[in-house]
Symmetry: C2
Subunit: 341 residues, 2 copies
DNA sequence: CTGGGATATGACTACGTAGTCACGGAGTTG
DNA sequence: CAACTCCGTGACTACGTAGTCATATCCCAG
């Protein structure tokens, strides 16, 4: 009869087969010096034969480190968050860390802070809060590990909370400046939900650009990142003959805006210029193709993660501070305003 | 001076503070019976005071189980994969499992099989391959844990590879039947990359529907899921006056198709009807709003994960087999063909 | 009032890894 | 050739948890 499934082989089993001590196996596996070539080969052969994989639980227990970083995400399938997660995974893996993900569904009262708690219980050496929002409650959490957040997080009591500069401000400024340069008197804004710091940053960039140009600041509209909310905002804009230029806080909402404008018979870009943000793959294939601002998620993550690792590993690694940049992609949805009457 | 950071408190520390044995703390933490209420309260108070969190590494080492499942993903920010991941995380968390993610960037020669190996090294009790593709090489991996895959995976040698029925077939059939019912003589297809099983399933559903209706089967076009590839396919379709109906394997490509058709002056749906797949949030706000097929990711994942857990936990849990369904969403991009001349 | 089950608690131990230290031999230097 | 250093190896141990088994009460039935 088939045996009850036995435990996977350990370094002790490898040691026995290779005729060496367990410690020597450990040395070989970790590539430590002071092992003769002959023994090294014997151990590797034995390990291969047994299908040995080192037990990360035992390793973590011994070292007191998990070699794992956790991501507290909002769990949306939006392009931005999804891209962040992918970049995070890649960079974490590159520096030898595994990645845990915990989502906090939007509308969930538990919130980001609870996701952090869940990660801490799972065992991680560091935490990334990928889309920080304004904390809905004042739950105090004592995070015993460094936390990287792209915006302030209330209620979090961590030894080191790291917050790289918000690059969304640059993006908002760039989009707005582009429209102003084209000659528009001012620029409307369809913002993301104000609970999101990313949304606030874009508002700030938009404000700064208007102020710098001495343009009047019209009241911003607010959506929830969804095309549906963009559509609602678009209907408001379509009704306003003064509105000739809009900066929309993400491409999804911009799609809704475009649809509303088309429906109302307002031509883009002749009557209204539209700038989105994110440069989703579909942006170039809308009607008209959408001018938008692209963020370099790779650079943002690389930068932030380097800071985080510096804290985790006690400054042993050199942090490469390649400053994240934003990049305006001009397509056909923007143009100078029509001749003034 | 500040102490060197000391280890986090363990059950022993809690035990000392509460004046009980370490084992009793373990019992309280795990909610085991046979602990007096008074002691239970004392222990909980002590744990709270010290900020105790049980060490998962020690727990995993002791039990030989990680309470963690791993996802091998392709690392795209597409709507489908992103939604799968979110559903996975939610369901895993609900049954008390943590989630590890490893991506294998498309074009990476290492492939899915290597991602599986990485997960095994990280320590997981089960693995989900969320977007299986046809293995590019014959690397044999000995996965010592159950693997859930939504399609065959070559080169994987696992004790139990679980493959729930491919629901993409239903989706393809449903989309095609809808177009045929409207009166189109036949339906063109813009497929996903043939390396993806999801793409193949949709092709199969399309074929089956055509065959069942006795409609001729035109040669399918192939894209890579991206709007750009959809645009290329759309230009081909636009040049073909016989093409009056298209089923596109995902909404992103459908956006490209719509753009190409509009550019060529072919009206949708008057000249060409288009059906997409996924029901991305933007689908309802395209011009025209896109008829599409929605998959119930939640149900697909719930179903698959139940099967996986059954294997992991030895049939202790009751698997709820709520059969995944697809759902056609009819919008304005489809209509009967124009009157025959 | 006595045997026996249910209840409550603790002592001891295994889990697999890698750090610490100890030891023996080879080579090198004064 | 004595004193010393570098190399290669192994014995022993800690890490924190939960399983196993032993022990100590207590209550109730016979």
């Amino acid at each position: 009869m088939p045996e009850a499934r036995r435990r996977p082989p350990g370094s002790t089993d490898v040691a026995r087969l290779a005729g060496v001590s367990q410690k020597t196996v450990s040395r070989v596996i970790n590539g430590e010096p002071y092992v003769s070539d002959e023994i090294r080969q014997r151990v590797l052969a034995a390990a291969r034969e047994l299908g040995y994989r080192r037990n990360t639980a035992a390793r973590a227990l011994n070292l007191g480190r998990f070699h794992r970083i956790g991501v507290a995400s909002l769990g949306s399938s939006l392009y931005g968050p999804a891209s962040m997660l992918i970049a995070l995974e890649r960079h974490a893996r590159e520096v030898g860390y595994a990645l845990s993900v915990v989502n906090t569904m939007e509308g969930d009262d538990t919130g980001v802070v609870n996701a952090v708690e869940t990660l801490l219980e799972q065992g991680v050496d560091g935490i990334v809060i990928s889309e920080p929002i304004v904390a809905e409650q004042e739950l105090r959490i004592d995070a015993s590990v460094p936390v990287l957040s792209f915006g302030p997080v209330a209620g979090l009591d961590a030894p080191q909370v790291i917050t790289p500069g918000p690059s969304g401000v640059d993006a908002g400024r760039e989009a707005t400046e582009h429209l102003l340069r084209l000659g528009h008197a001012t620029v409307r804004h369809v913002a993301g939900p104000s609970r999101w710091w990313a949304a606030r940053d874009r508002v700030r960039g938009w404000r700064e650009a208007l102020a710098a140009a001495g343009a009047p600041e019209p009241p911003p509209l607010e959506g929830d990142w969804s095309p549906a909310s963009g559509y609602a905002a678009g209907r408001v804009l379509a009704a306003d003959r003064e509105a000739t230029a809009v900066f929309v806080a993400n491409d999804d909402m911009a799609i809704g805006v475009l649809h509303a404008l088309a429906e109302a018979g307002r031509a883009v870009p002749e009557d209204v210029s539209v700038v989105g943000m994110d440069d989703v793959p579909a942006a170039a294939y809308l009607s008209p193709p959408l001018t938008t601002v692209r963020q370099d998620f790779e650079a943002i993550i690389a930068h932030g993660l380097a800071l985080l690792l510096e804290r985790i590993e006690g400054g042993s690694r050199v942090a490469v501070h390649d400053t994240p940049v934003t990049h305006l992609v001009v397509r056909r949805s923007t143009s100078p305003p029509k001749e003034k009457r």
